[in-house]
């Protein structure tokens, strides 16, 4: 039996998506086949719309459909605080925490030589003109080896410009028991301990 070519094409396209294996792609294709035409058209439409309307903010490289992103366009955000993150998704995560009212800078990646990502592949250069004295830059890349390496790289790059640089805290996640914490995190949580007595 030969499979219909449009089915084969759909399975192939779906299995290109990250995290979708060939079996899932096949199941997804059959699932989609069973859905009403409107739903498929809406899904396809949302893909095309997103691709057409979304682009990166020319200032902070966050995702936006406007000239400037919502954060950069908001004059009430603290203008002297720039939080450097790896990906646009991190902006969403931080915004959800509700604790941050400054600006962002999205690098679109982390240094990873073995994956061919050097400093030139990140949105690093456009960060420099945003920096002036009085500004604090928070390095909020992940706490993986690459996130840490990227933070250190950025620190060395911008420190000479006279800005204040800080790094998000390492430590125990809220709600965690020590016995489930790993040793490295534990060491960091101890050395970064904060005084609570007067």
């Amino acid at each position: 039996m030969k499979y219909p070519s449009s089915l084969v094409a759909l399975i192939r396209e779906l299995s290109r998506l990250p995290g979708i294996g060939p079996k899932s792609a096949q199941r997804l294709a059959f699932y989609l086949f069973e859905q009403p035409r409107e739903d498929i058209e809406r899904l396809a439409g949302s893909l095309l719309d997103a691709k057409r309307e979304l682009h990166t903010c020319p200032v902070c490289f966050n995702i936006t459909d406007a000239e400037l992103c919502d954060v950069c366009a908001d004059p009430t955000r603290m203008q002297n605080l720039i939080c450097v993150v790896e990906e646009p998704g991190d902006v969403i995560a931080i915004e959800k925490s509700g604790e941050y009212t400054g600006l962002y800078h999205v690098l679109h990646g982390v240094l990873s030589p073995m994956n061919g990502v050097g400093p030139d592949k990140l949105q690093l250069r456009p960060l420099l003109p945003r920096l002036q004295s009085g500004i604090e830059v928070i390095l909020a890349t992940g706490t993986t080896v690459e996130g840490e390496a990227t933070a250190m790289y950025v620190q060395r790059l911008i420190e000479p410009l006279g800005v204040m640089v800080s790094r998000i805290a390492y430590g125990l996640p809220v709600g965690g028991a020590l016995e489930y914490a790993d040793e490295v995190t534990l060491g960091r949580a101890l050395s970064g301990r904060q005084r609570v007595s007067k």
Binding site: G19, P113, M152, V184
Partner: protein, 243 residues
């Protein structure tokens, strides 16, 4: 009773997070290279342990149906936090990428494990990480059976060549090369690196200005023998290699 669980101890050579939040790691262990997945690992404490370059003990579970073993538990056996420093990070990547290319799954080799582990320790601690990386790259290659020809010209076979081989990263005789010969120290290093002990090589580092040409040889040799390696691009200075 055949158990489907095994305990292994190894170093994380590669790490990838899938959109579903699984962590896929490649470990080099004394029992060979292993690829395994920690399902949902990015949300739990596995995320910390299964970090790049960490030495971890893992419990793996393998079913005949699944192609990848599952990491059920992990403990940290050693971490080298300084590998994140900008002057060390790219070398740790290079050595890991080389080791990943050189050693295959199912190939027992305590030597390979020890050499790779030692090379990361060296890059992490030594005041001259570049030199550690250069020496250990050649040592990893030699262990895997890829030692450059240095006794005879790589093109015509003439004895005792001393000129660079700009295409293959080995040595050429004066007749086959259009480049000036290597200076004596550099030539000695290139000739002796597979045979000398790591200790002896570490004790006699080449001057900084001698190294770019060695990196270039290494890069050519690896590219021809093993294939393309991403980490070259990020080596300090960026343009020392493959210029």
């Amino acid at each position: 009773m055949k158990s489907r669980s095994t305990n292994r101890s190894g170093i994380v050579m590669r790490r990838k997070v899938t959109p579903a939040g699984d962590i896929i790691v490649t470990l080099l262990t004394p029992q060979g290279k292993i690829k395994a997945v920690a399902r949902g690992g990015v949300r739990g404490q596995q995320a910390s342990r299964l970090n790049l370059f960490h030495h971890v003990g893992v419990q793996l579970y393998q079913t005949p149906q699944a192609d990848l073993a599952t990491v059920q538990q992990s403990i940290l056996e050693g971490a080298l936090p300084r590998l994140s420093e900008p002057e060390r990070h790219p070398y740790a990547h290079l050595l890991s990428e080389l080791a990943d290319a050189l050693f295959q799954e199912g190939e027992f080799s305590e030597q390979a494990f020890d050499l790779y582990a030692g090379s990361l320790r060296g890059v992490s601690r030594h005041p001259d990480p570049e030199w550690v990386a250069l020496v250990m790259s050649y040592k990893l290659l030699a262990l895997a059976g890829f030692a450059p020809r240095t006794r005879h010209c790589a093109r015509c076979g003439a004895a005792d060549p001393s000129h660079p081989d700009p295409l293959g990263g080995q040595l050429l005789c004066g007749a086959c090369s259009n480049q000036p010969p290597h200076p004596p120290e550099r030539l000695e290093f290139l000739r002796e690196v597979p045979r000398r002990s790591v200790r002896a090589l570490m004790d006699a580092p080449l001057m900084a200005e001698q190294r770019p040409a060695v990196w270039r040889s290494l890069e050519r040799f690896v590219t021809v023998q093993i294939g393309s390696v991403q980490s070259w691009r990020s080596l300090v200075g960026g343009d020392v290699v493959g210029a």
